[in-house]
Symmetry: D2
Subunit: 133 residues, 4 copies
Amino acid sequence: MEDMVAFFESDAFAQYLGIELMEASEGRAKARLEVKQIHLNSHKTVHGGVLFALADAVFAVASNSYGTAALAIHADISYFKAVTEGILTAEAQELSRSKKLANYSIKISDDRGNVVSAFQGMVYRKEKSPVQK
Amino acid sequence: MEDMVAFFESDAFAQYLGIELMEASEGRAKARLEVKQIHLNSHKTVHGGVLFALADAVFAVASNSYGTAALAIHADISYFKAVTEGILTAEAQELSRSKKLANYSIKISDDRGNVVSAFQGMVYRKEKSPVQK
Amino acid sequence: MEDMVAFFESDAFAQYLGIELMEASEGRAKARLEVKQIHLNSHKTVHGGVLFALADAVFAVASNSYGTAALAIHADISYFKAVTEGILTAEAQELSRSKKLANYSIKISDDRGNVVSAFQGMVYRKEKSPVQK
Amino acid sequence: MEDMVAFFESDAFAQYLGIELMEASEGRAKARLEVKQIHLNSHKTVHGGVLFALADAVFAVASNSYGTAALAIHADISYFKAVTEGILTAEAQELSRSKKLANYSIKISDDRGNVVSAFQGMVYRKEKSPVQK
């Protein structure tokens, strides 16, 4: 998990938002976010972009967990329930992985365990450069 | 446009990211973002979550431009080209609008005018409460 | 399940493709399709539109299982693996359901149990007319 | 356009549905479908799977127009308006194309020119085998 922690910590945007990595292993990752005022939209609920960014953070860790650079090429998110406060948790699961492409499903839950949003993401996997660690 | 500027300025997350509203009218909006270090991911390119949030900001303004609260229910984004610096511009266009649902297409361009990402979003339109402004 | 069988049997397109309903209950449905030559595309693999239609059939049954007309407003599909022959099975699971909106996740498997495609769909739920059954 | 007509004519499923190719050039394609009873769903409107298949047909022609096999990896569709009869027309436009990936936007219109559905699709472009035509 060390490499993945280092990978996550180098994600400036996830850090800026306050996302915390909880677990990571090959093809999987889990993170959390404590909702703060900066995470709200004009309707005073958690911003769709924040829910997306939280899901995206675990998507990035899970898809980059094999030592091959994985670049997001598509993602979509469905919003089920507005959230105004508390701790949000996102968990990534791998749906498929071939040499060049992989797919992940991420569920976001509120602190009562209700799934508030579902995210799917696809990556393109680059050849590992011989120099790259 | 005044109401829409006020609506946009009350979006705490868009403000936190540095997104600037450029234009807004019924069903349309345009915004920009100057790429900073906090917007980067672990690959040192602009974070997918930042591109999403920029598109989401104009999606929110365009869809809430009729005085009816519009709540995002689905969004998806395709990434065409990695960006590392400069000014990003997002522009929303309305694809459809009925009493309860509306759809928007957002294109994000880099400062050479290349489309780097395409976003589609759908909202559910709530009845305007008689009390609500 | 009787109502759902009747509902499914009135789906002319699903019948035209040869889709068979296997199971149905509130918020859930399962169907199968035996791959024939008419289901293939120009690359001689099962057509993306066939995989979509199979998933769509169980999505329709599951989302219309409560006696409220549910109209599809969005769907997306990711293709993991090309299929050329055999029996395909699609199974729908409900991710969320509120008064007006509901979301479903459908997985399509080949006859070895490999997930070859994942589909997500969202419906808008119409008020049940008092006259309607 | 000859190669693309041959490519389209080898699409067994598109033929089975009655889809007619109208135009094709590099990165673009247009097709039409006359709505028949077999295209309807249980609500007696044109089946979501039919709208998808029509869009998918032009997506396939447009993305395979460069002599490189293009395999669909993701597609999504938004439904704006139910259709019950008439001629549907789908037109594909290329949003981006790199060596391995390309993205297309397809709009489906009814016979009054109203856009009834919007589709986005992504392909993975395989290396052309030296043997393959």
